[in-house]
Every structure is written in C-alpha cells, then in structure tokens.
C-alpha cells in the first residue's frame, strides 16, 4: 500500500486552512495508560457535557423571574395558587413539556454525579500521589472546578423557587449575615434587599447558566491541556518507567473506549432520570418564608457544610454594640474554607516536608506512602463526620436514637475520628507493605507440605515472577529530608535552623515505620535462605494447627 502524500478533497480543504496534519500527527496515536481508576475524571467530564446539553434544553422553558403568577398548568393540586414564574415554569417543564421531567431529572442526577465523580477523582489523585511535580497546578485547577461545581449545583438547586430550595437559600442568607462587619451589606447586595426579595432567581440564573459554566469550561480546557502536555501518569510495572508512558493509542482504542464510555455515562444518567425520582418540586409547593418541611435535606455535597453548622454548639458574643455569632462564623465561615485550603495546598505541604523536587510520573500505591494515606483517611473521616452531622435528625429517627446524643457524639467524633482514622489507615498500609515484602522475600505459599525422611515437615515456597517482584519494588526509597550539619566548616550556624529542624522532624515522621524495599544484598540473602534448613517448619506437638504450618510468619 503506498502512502498518500495528499489528503482527499474535503480534508485537504480543512488542512489548507488549519494545518491539521501538523497538530494531528502528534496526538492521533497519543498513548494513554489503562486502569479503571483513570476513568473517574472522565465521568466528571462527561457529566459536565450532559449538564450543558440538558441544561440548555431546560432554559428554553424556564422563566427566571420571581414575578407572581397564578398557576394554571395541568398539575391540579397546585392550580390557582400564587407562585413565582420560576416555580410555575418549572411545573410546566415537569407536567406540560414532553420529556421535560426527564431532562430535569437527568440534569439533577448528572449534577449529583458530576460532583461525586470530581471528588472520587480527587481522592484517586491524592492517594496515588498524582498531584506531585509537575502536576501541582492541575491539582489546583481541579480544586477550582470542584469548588465551582458545588456552588453551581447549590445555585441551580435554588432556581425552581420551591419550598425546599427557598429554605436552602434562607439558610445561606443567615450564614452570610453572620459575617462580621460586611454580613448584612453582602446579603442586601446579593438578594437586592431583604430576603427573599424578588431578584435572586434572575441573578442566580445568569450565574448558573453563563458565569460559572463558562469558567468551568475554561478550567476543563486548561485541565485537559495539561493532561496532554504532562502525559498521563501510570502505575509502576515492568516496562513502565518515569520516562515513558505505556498503554493504548488515542486512535483507535481510546476513541472507542472513552467515546463509548461517554455514551455509557449518558445512558446511565438517562436511565436514572427516567426511573429514579429526584427533587420532586411539585410536592413541596412554592416557597413560603413561614413554612418548612421536616427532615429537609440538601443535595449530598452540601451535607458536610450543613453538618458543620448543625453540630456546632450555640454561642455568640455581644460587646461594644456588636454581635459575633461564633455558632456560624466558626462552622460555616472558617472551618470549611480552612479545610478546603488545607487539602488544596497539600501538594505543596508534602513537597516541603519531603524536600522532593523531582518530577513524578509513576503513581504510588497507597500502601507505599503510609503517612500520606493516613492523612487522606483522616481528611475523609473528618468530612464524613460532618456529612453525617448533616443528617443527624434522620439518623436519630431511623435508628431510634436521641438527637442530642447523636449530636454530642459527632462533636467529639469530628475531632477524634480523624486521629483514629489516620492511625488505623497508616498501620494498615504498613501491614500491607509487610505482606508485600513477605511475598517478595519468601515467595508464594504453595500449600504443598513436604515430609523429609527424618519426619520433618516443610512447606514449599515458590518465588514470585520477576514481573510481579519488579512491580512491588518499582518505587522510591523513602529517605527523610536531610538538613545538613548545624554549622558549616567555618563554624557559622546555618540560618533558620529551627524551621529546618521542624521540617526534618516532620519528614522523619512522614517516613517513619514505612517498610523500605530490600536492597540487592537483602534480596539475595532471602533467596538463599529460602533453600536453607531454617525455613523448615517443624510440626511439633506445640504447633496447634495445620494452618500455622502453612502460613509463613516466621
């Protein structure tokens, strides 16, 4: 087959104007590594596209106006009721536009999925160390999208102007109002005066359909551009090095796999929209500032903020003619932003502690960085305790507990839980490392028991394959950051000694107890030892069970 040096007609037309061959030749066969955990970000991306498609559909009928109208649509239970145009048009989409309810529900499910996928994607990044140089900025961009996604979701939740969404906004309004000095001013500017006013739906609408999606779209572009530029990370394994990326080409394998996966995600959200009810606003009725439903819950991603506010004890200070509402300032205005900032800056914090300035393209297995894994679990537990707090009333009623006890438990658990979580996860990771080390040095337990002529019993061990052994050892040696001597050869003290000492201590803590991979000598010694008589496990009278013989824990 001869190679063409000229494009066929229509492609040539495009190429003459855009030079597509120059761009395409680099990227058409771009290699992406294969692993299920690399799909999480894709889910987020695809749900964002689904959100844009379904959201556009909804805007054709939704009227972002708080003008009062009398409902005359086909939902008889609310007929004749006064309500905002926003709520009335939401009912029209639900009951009078064919496919409207479906689109509304796909939109809502996709929103829920969007944020969930971003969060799990973030956890994958965290636990595998994918945020390390050179990807710190992409981590921050991702964080920006997660933050905007949550704001976007919450604002969208407020648009239908039903009883539940109005209550959510009332709570937000109350939180903003607690901000020192500027609280009331911010509220009056955001809501155009007192709550509820008649401005927020039209204002939130434009933020929801233009401003935030526009920024997210720009960030998505930057995010993907950097993924292409840095090339995807990969798990360590035979043939997979810091200097290459091993996997399948974009065309055709990933075009089919990733493209197909878009349809799978869209299909599943469409099925959810068809079969699973979400946010049935017609049951709640129009917003009424004097009414509320019991057991009201926000969308899941707001749960931790809700919980933070719920479990915080009520106290405020009054002095010099001012009020400081600590019951909101701390749990709503300080703790969540501080927590988010801490997690967002984690790559820089870890980089400083470990003193690691190298590029990393091979991912860590969570067990190989026990302290990081512990910290990650502590973050999760902290978040989870707050999140559970957001449903403290439901937990109390479902499990027949006292609401007060649930709340008091969470007040302690939110502090003690992360510490416990850190400790357990770290030890767990170290145990897994030890199991790996065992496998590496002693090989596989075959379960075959041999009896020697003298009557001794031994279990045969089989060395693991070179490929597996390589995968286990293909990781960094964890060396604590070295800060050098106290004084140089001229006796001059090094500057900022205390800071460096603290850093060294943190670094030691970071790597303490982690199992180092064996050196060449250790590995050789272990393999020789495997043929030694020492390895023979005697089945004596004080050996209790057969199991003990077969399990190699010598």
């Amino acid at each position: 087959m001869s190679t063409n040096t000229e494009f066929p007609g229509p492609v040539k037309w495009v190429d003459d104007r855009l030079g597509i061959a120059k761009i395409g030749k680099k990227n058409l066969r771009k290699v992406f590594p294969d692993h299920w955990s690399f799909m999480l970000g894709e889910i987020a991306l695809y749900s964002f596209i689904i959100l844009i498609l379904t959201g556009t559909f909804l805007t054709f009928w939704f009227k972002p106006s708080m003008a009062e109208v009398e409902y005359q649509g086909s939902y008889s239970l609310l007929k004749g009721l006064h309500m905002s145009e926003a709520y009335a048009s939401t009912l029209d989409i639900t009951f009078d536009v064919r496919g409207g309810l479906l689109m509304r529900q796909i939109h809502h499910w996709a929103a829920v999925l969007f944020i969930a996928a971003m969060m799990v994607h973030l956890l994958r990044m965290f636990f595998t160390g994918a945020f390390r140089k050179p990807r710190e900025l992409n981590w921050l961009i991702g964080f920006g999208m997660l933050f905007l996604g949550i704001v976007e979701g919450f604002i969208g939740y407020g648009l239908p102007d039903d009883l539940l969404s109005g209550t959510g906004l009332r709570i937000t309004n109350g939180m903003i109002q607690a901000s020192p000095v500027v609280g009331t001013y911010m509220n009056f500017f955001i809501f155009g005066g007192e709550f509820p006013g008649d401005d927020f739906v039209s204002r939130f609408f434009i933020v929801h359909v233009l401003l935030i999606p526009g920024i997210i779209l720009a960030l998505v572009t930057a995010h993907l551009f950097l993924v292409v530029y840095h090339k995807h990370t990969q798990y360590a394994g035979p043939g997979r090095t810091q200097k290459n990326v091993v996997g399948y080409p974009l065309f055709p394998v990933y075009t089919a796999k990733a493209g197909g996966f878009f349809f799978v995600v869209f299909g599943i959200t469409a099925l959810m929209g068809a079969l699973m009810q979400i946010n049935p606003v017609w049951l709640y009725g129009p917003y009424n500032p004097a009414e509320v439903t019991a057991g009201a819950q926000p969308d899941w991603y707001m749960g931790w903020l809700e919980g933070s506010v719920r479990i915080f004890p009520g106290f405020e200070s009054h002095f010099w003619g001012i009020t400081l509402s600590w019951n909101l300032i701390i749990p709503a205005l300080i703790v969540p932003p501080a927590f988010v900032t801490l997690v967002a800056l984690y790559p820089f914090i870890e980089g400083w502690i470990t003193g690691d300035k190298r590029e990393h393209h091979l991912l860590d297995r969570p067990r190989d960085m026990p302290t990081r894994t512990g910290i990650g679990v502590a973050f999760i537990v902290f978040y989870a305790m707050l999140w559970i707090g957001g449903g403290n009333d439901l937990i109390a009623t479902h499990f027949n507990l006292s609401l007060n006890h649930v709340t008091w438990f969470l007040r302690f658990a939110v502090i003690l839980g992360p510490i416990l979580g850190f400790w357990v996860a770290r030890r767990w990771a170290i145990s897994l490392q030890r199991a790996d080390q065992d496998r590496l040095l002693h090989g596989l337990e075959t379960g075959v028991i041999m009896r020697s002529p003298e009557g001794k019993y031994t279990e045969k061990h089989q060395p693991i394959s070179t490929y597996e052994a390589y995968s286990i050892t293909a990781r960094d040696r964890l060396v604590p950051h070295e800060i050098g001597p106290e004084t140089d050869e001229n006796g001059v003290r090094a500057p900022r000694r205390a800071l460096h000492k603290a850093r060294a201590a943190l670094s030691r803590f970071y790597f303490a107890d982690a199992v180092q991979k064996p050196t060449t000598q250790e590995l050789e010694a272990a393999h020789e030892h495997a043929h030694d008589a020492d390895e023979i496990h005697e089945l004596t009278e004080d050996t209790e069970t057969y199991r003990e013989v077969t399990s190699d824990r010598s």
């Binding site: 708080m66 005066g193 996997g247 469409a270 068809a274 079969l275 019991a294």
Partner: protein
C-alpha cells in the same frame, strides 16, 4: 550563597526517581493473545454482538420518537415499583438504553477486536530546554528594550496606576445591586394594636380559641392586605413577621422579669423565625413545651421565654407582648423589642 547558583543536582533533573533497583526492569510483559485474536469464529461472534448492540440502539432511538407522539403526556405508568408519567419514562428508557448500548458496543469493540498490544511513548520533561530559555529571555529583553518599558519608569508607573484605579468603577458600578441595610432588619410590621390572625384563615384569634397545649401559626392582621399591594413586600414582611402563638398552663410558665404582662392567660407569642439562620421553626412538643427547628435542630423552651435548650442557636426566640383588644381579640402590645431572625454583626 543561594541554592540558585549551585549546579543542578542530578536528582533535581527530570526522571531522576530511581525505581529499577534492586530488581532491574524486566521490560514489558509479553503480549498474550485474546481468544478473538486466535479464533476467527470468536471474533465473528464479537462482531455480531457489537453490531447487535448498535442495531438495537437504532431501534430504541426510533422507539423513543414514536413514544413521544404516541403516548399521551398525562398517561401514568404503574408497573411494580415503577410509577410515573408514562411518556417521560418510556422516552427516557429508550434513549437511556440506546445510549448505553452504543457505549457498550464501542467498548466491546475496542476491548475484543482492536489491536491490544500496548505501545510506549517517550516522556519529555515539563520544563523548557536551556536553549529555549536563552532564546525567550533574549526575545523578552529585546522587547523590553524596544519598548523602553524598563527605562521610562514614569510610563510604567502611570500605567500601573491607571490600570489599578480601573478596578474601582468595576466595584462601584455594582452599588445598585441592593439598598443599604439601614434599619430594615430591626423592624417588622408588628405594632401596637395589630391583631394576631391565623396564618391560613386570616381570622383574628380570641384567647378562647386556644386550648392549653395548642400551638397556632399566626401572622399580623396587616400582612394579608400587603399581598394586593406588592408581592415582594408581602414576602419580605412575612419572612420577618411570622409568629407562633401557644397556650401553656400558667403554672408551668417561668416568666422573665419585665415580661409579666406579655402573655394572656398563658397564651404566649414568639417569633417563628429561628435565631440561628432563619428557618421557620415548626415542630412543637406539647409535654415539654419544646419547639424544634427542622433545619438545624435548635430547640427552644416556650415555657421559659423560648430559651435555647439544645442545638446551634445562641439566642432565645424574640417574644411579642400580647394583649386583648376591646372586641376580645389578641393584639400586639407593641412591635418586637429586638430584631427577629438570625444574628448580624451590628445587632448589638
């Protein structure tokens, strides 16, 4: 001497993380052929599967279009646990399954039929090469010199100043987003002599209408007429003026000093708006006189000046002093004596 002047240490360079020890990299595992690579029959079977999925998807898409027109928009589907609008559900099912099948078919095709030998691509360090750095530095210097930006400091500084103040109108132009708070949060439409009316029926309430243990959601009599005038004024007024009226056995009430005559025969009136973040409180427990906010579970004791007994709220619910007018209806002695609703900084 700063780190900058030191020669670059090898471990700072790209790809210096050494992982191929103590075991050297054995290289990629040999490729194992799939059944579809060896057995043409298996490959044909997969081809039929994939095109079957695509074909079924086509039928489903057509089905969704038919459903759109054929199923009346108000028909209901009841099938086991499924119940809902038939039109929506069938369209959604058809489109959802079709999309899913298209995706599943493409993935099956990629996994089973496309070449699955892994290929490797070189990575390059993220940073620029020394030569590129030299070139760009040179180009930048050239530009700086040509513009005179560094030399003519007055231009630079005045430009920074001009661009700096440009932020000002961007902020100031937003001033009309809303009025200043003023005293708005301090007042409600309650005033001396305003009748307490049931918030559903708008009927004024007589003490005899309430039995001990009863709690009624109420509003000021001047609220309903507002609705005719302006819907937004009405909503804003309602958001602050909503109250609860409760009748408690007088012997169980612990009255705060100064509030001895605020109740009428054990009938007390409190703001319905939670002092935490402003949800309307609603769950009343007769035996304990506790009322609970469903949003964050702040609990107030209505027999004890609505003080907080549990939860995140910090202040009791404001109490409205009650009296009885000449016709025997409950009226307010005055407006609230403190701002209702959530706290704010300048509240005092």
């Amino acid at each position: 001497m700063s780190d900058k002047n030191l020669p670059v240490k090898p471990e700072d360079e790209h790809g210096a993380v050494e992982v191929a020890e103590p075991i050297p990299d054995p290289g990629l595992e040999p490729h194992e052929p799939r059944i579809t690579d060896i057995d043409p029959k298996a490959a044909d079977r997969v081809e039929r599967q994939v095109s079957g999925m695509f074909g079924l998807a086509t039928l489903l898409v057509v089905g969704s279009c038919v459903a759109y027109f054929a199923i009346p928009r108000d028909s209901i589907l009841e099938f086991g646990p499924l119940s809902g609008n038939a039109n929506n559900m069938v369209i959604g099912l058809c489109i959802g399954l079709a999309l899913f099948l298209i995706g599943a078919g493409a993935i099956q095709w990629a996994k089973k039929l496309m070449v699955d030998e892994e290929i490797s691509e070189e990575r390059h360090p993220a940073h620029s090469s020394p030569q590129q750095i030299a070139e760009i530095t040179e180009a930048f210097k050239e530009g700086t010199v040509e513009s005179g930006f560094g030399r003519r400091k007055m231009i630079r500084n005045s430009l920074i100043g001009a661009l700096g103040v440009l932020g000002l109108p961007a902020v100031i132009l937003l001033r009309d987003l809303g009025p200043l708070p003023g005293r708005a949060l301090y007042n409600t439409i309650w005033a001396k002599g305003i009748r307490v009316v049931n918030d559903v029926t708008d009927r004024p309430i007589k003490p005899s209408d309430l039995i001990v243990g009863q709690l009624v959601n109420a509003a000021p009599a001047n609220l309903a007429p507002l609705q005719e005038e302006s819907a937004v004024e009405y909503q804003n007024a309602k958001a602050k003026a909503a109250v609860i009226v409760v009748r408690i056995k007088p012997s169980e009430i612990r009255t705060k000093p100064g509030r001895e005559n605020w109740g009428v025969d054990g009938i007390l009136c409190y703001s319905k708006i939670c002092t935490h973040v402003g949800c309307p409180i609603s769950l009343y427990e007769q035996t304990t006189h506790h009322v609970l906010c469903p949003c964050h579970q702040s609990t107030f004791d209505l027999a004890d000046s609505a003080k907080v007994v549990f939860g995140p709220a910090a202040r009791p619910l404001p109490q409205l002093p009650l009296a009885v007018d000449s016709e025997g209806y409950l009226v307010a002695q005055s407006g609230f004596t403190e701002p209702v609703g959530p706290s704010f900084f300048e509240r005092g």
